[in-house]
């Protein structure tokens, strides 16, 4: 399933600030995901779903619950025209795939089949294909470890 949202989707829409200091585990986060943006999301989202959005997705707070939550419910990728910086970094840390592609966002119409091939760097929207670039090697190393904390654990173990 594909979810589509507009520009400037901020962290309060993705996960309301009032829960920031009471919910931090994936199970606590899931029921409140996108609560003030799309009340149907938390109940209907499925493993492998894709989110399309406009520019500046994830702007606002540094809270990581939106990323942790989207990863936990199995979002395959968020494809947006652009991402806010802390959100982008947070996604690397959690191993959530974010793809910047205005073309793919523009190409999507309701009902189109969408697939993402992360290894090849290809998004398919209906019968159109879009390429996206590989990340720098330093970042790929974090992703390959399964996120920042697994990466740090490996590094610390080697140093010891």
């Amino acid at each position: 399933m594909v979810w589509k949202y507009g520009d400037d989707i901020n962290t309060d829409m993705l996960f309301p600030g009032k829960y920031t200091y009471t919910c931090s585990t994936p199970e606590e986060i899931k029921p409140h995901l996108l609560e003030d943006l799309d009340a149907s999301f938390a109940t209907n989202v499925k493993q492998g779903d894709i989110i399309f959005a406009g520019k500046n997705f994830g702007c606002g707070s540094s809270r990581e619950q939106p990323v942790v939550g989207l990863k936990a419910v199995g979002i395959k990728a968020v494809i947006a025209k652009s991402f806010a910086r802390i959100f982008y970094r947070s996604a690397i840390n959690q191993g959530l795939l974010l793809i910047e592609s205005s073309e793919a966002v523009e190409a999507y119409s309701k009902g189109d089949q969408v697939t993402v091939d992360a290894d090849q760097g290809i998004i398919t929207v209906g019968d159109q294909q879009f390429r996206f670039p590989q990340l720098p090697l330093e970042i790929i190393a974090i992703q390959q470890a399964g996120g920042l904390l697994p990466y740090v654990r490996e590094t610390l173990k080697k140093q010891k």
């Binding site: 309060d12 829409m13 707070s61 540094s62 806010a84 910086r85 802390i86 330093e138």
Partner: protein, 421 residues
């Protein structure tokens, strides 16, 4: 080709001659700031903390400020877990509830200095550019990793040069200027960029610069910086930090910027950010028919002494409108003390204000003045996102402390120049 501030400071910390935008460098920041979220951060790495300990007892700065005093058993337990962690790991820079908002406390304690790098698990960590530091927000997971390793990667940003020309008119403040700029370049106009202020900045007080740097993230910036001048040095000296304690970093005159923007400060008028994005701005005098039920003066954007003072100047001998609640949150205990000494608090309370303890208060909707559906708040905070102060069916407008003070008297959004004489 010369280097921008961001390119130069990141080169220094990475032990490189120079850096270019897009390059990835590994840095050891001088400090890592965390607040109430420290509880969640340390929960991620209990075994690693036992095995490896923390990278350095000097690195972390921990300030409990977001939900203070504790509003529930859960937040109380978070606070307790943080205190236990601080004690067990001998954290040097710890400030408990009541000390103030982290971004104010860090500066008051002399922990943000020119030419230093600070990272923090709070998006408004970009505030310390006000005193010439490179500072930026990160998430909790990265803060956990930094606690253990003391280092992280950073991408060298593109830089935007903002030239400020002339000076602000009477009744117009730093908050109006930054809302004017964000309205112009949009909430994503500086995404990933280092925003570097040039031009006629010497007239802006350090408190003004904090307000402006604080809101850098509201246009997507990675960091937001003012160059060190006599005002910066004087400000630090008042906090007993001598000039030999830091080495300022200045952009080269032939540095290359992705964009250069200029703003004539005489064009700026009292501005309001309307719901639900910070770049949705309009002049205050075009919104006079918007009534409000709550006014908030405080937060890491505008809870400093000059902010409380201008509010008191406007509210002196006046009364808050009967349909309005005015909440005032000094940004730190020091500011509260000074405001008491100067009689500012007395004026505000007499006018009908409620004084909240130094901290983040209702800014993030966790406690102390959340909004019900259908209510409107005019706030000096930095965000007006839907649902941020409680109900998703409430509305948040942002303005300067003067605009909030003027508006709580009339009960509707008011250009402060109408009441300032």
């Amino acid at each position: 080709m010369g280097l921008t501030f961001a390119e130069k400071i990141l080169a220094q910390y990475a032990n490189e001659e120079e850096t270019v935008p897009g390059q990835i460098v590994t840095v050891k920041p001088d400090h890592l700031l965390t607040h109430d979220n420290t509880a969640a951060i340390i929960q991620k790495i209990p075994d690693e903390l036992t095995t490896y300990g923390i990278a350095s007892t000097e690195l972390p700065i921990i300030v409990i400020d977001h939900v203070v005093p504790a509003a529930s058993e859960k937040t109380a337990l978070n606070h307790k877990n943080i205190r236990d962690f601080v004690s067990k790991h001998h954290i040097k820079h710890f400030y408990d509830v009541g000390e103030g908002i982290c971004h104010q406390v860090v500066v008051e304690k002399g922990l943000a200095l020119p030419g230093k790098i600070l990272l923090g698990s709070d998006s408004h960590t970009c505030s310390y550019g006000a005193v010439g530091a490179f500072s930026s927000g990160i998430d909790r997971t990265e803060a956990a990793a930094l606690l253990l390793t003391g280092k992280t990667w950073l991408k060298v940003p593109q830089s935007i040069k903002i030239n400020l020309e002339n000076s602000l008119s009477t009744g117009v403040f730093a908050k109006d200027l930054i809302l004017h700029i964000i309205g112009d370049i949009s909430a994503s106009g500086a995404t990933y960029c280092s925003v570097e202020y040039h031009g006629d900045v010497e007239q802006l007080s350090i408190e003004d610069r904090f307000t402006i740097a604080n809101m850098g993230v509201e246009m997507g910036a990675k960091n937001s910086v003012f160059f060190v001048d006599d005002k910066t040095k004087q400000y630090l000296l008042q906090r007993e930090i001598k000039e030999n304690a830091y080495t300022p970093v200045y952009a080269d005159t032939d540095a290359s910027y992705e964009q250069t923007l200029s703003y004539d400060l005489t064009d700026v008028v009292p501005m309001i950010a309307k719901p639900h994005t910070v770049d949705n701005v309009a002049p205050a005098n075009s919104l006079q028919d918007i009534d409000i039920q709550q006014g908030l003066i405080g937060t890491c954007t505008n809870g400093r002494l000059s902010d409380l003072k201008i509010a008191a100047d406007i509210l002196k001998g006046k009364q808050v409108h009967r349909n309005v609640r005015l909440l005032v949150l000094p940004a730190s205990k020091t500011i509260l003390q000074e405001a008491l000494d100067q009689g500012i608090i007395q004026i505000l309370v007499k006018a009908g204000a409620m004084i909240l303890p130094p901290g983040c208060g209702p800014c993030l909707g966790a406690h102390q003045g959340v909004l019900s559906p259908g209510e409107r708040c005019l706030s000096t905070a930095n965000r007006n996102f839907k649902g941020r102060m409680g109900s998703k069916d409430a509305e948040i407008y942002l303005g300067s402390p003067a605009t909030v003070a003027a508006s709580v008297i009339t009960g509707h959004i008011t250009d402060p120049r109408e009441v300032m004489n």
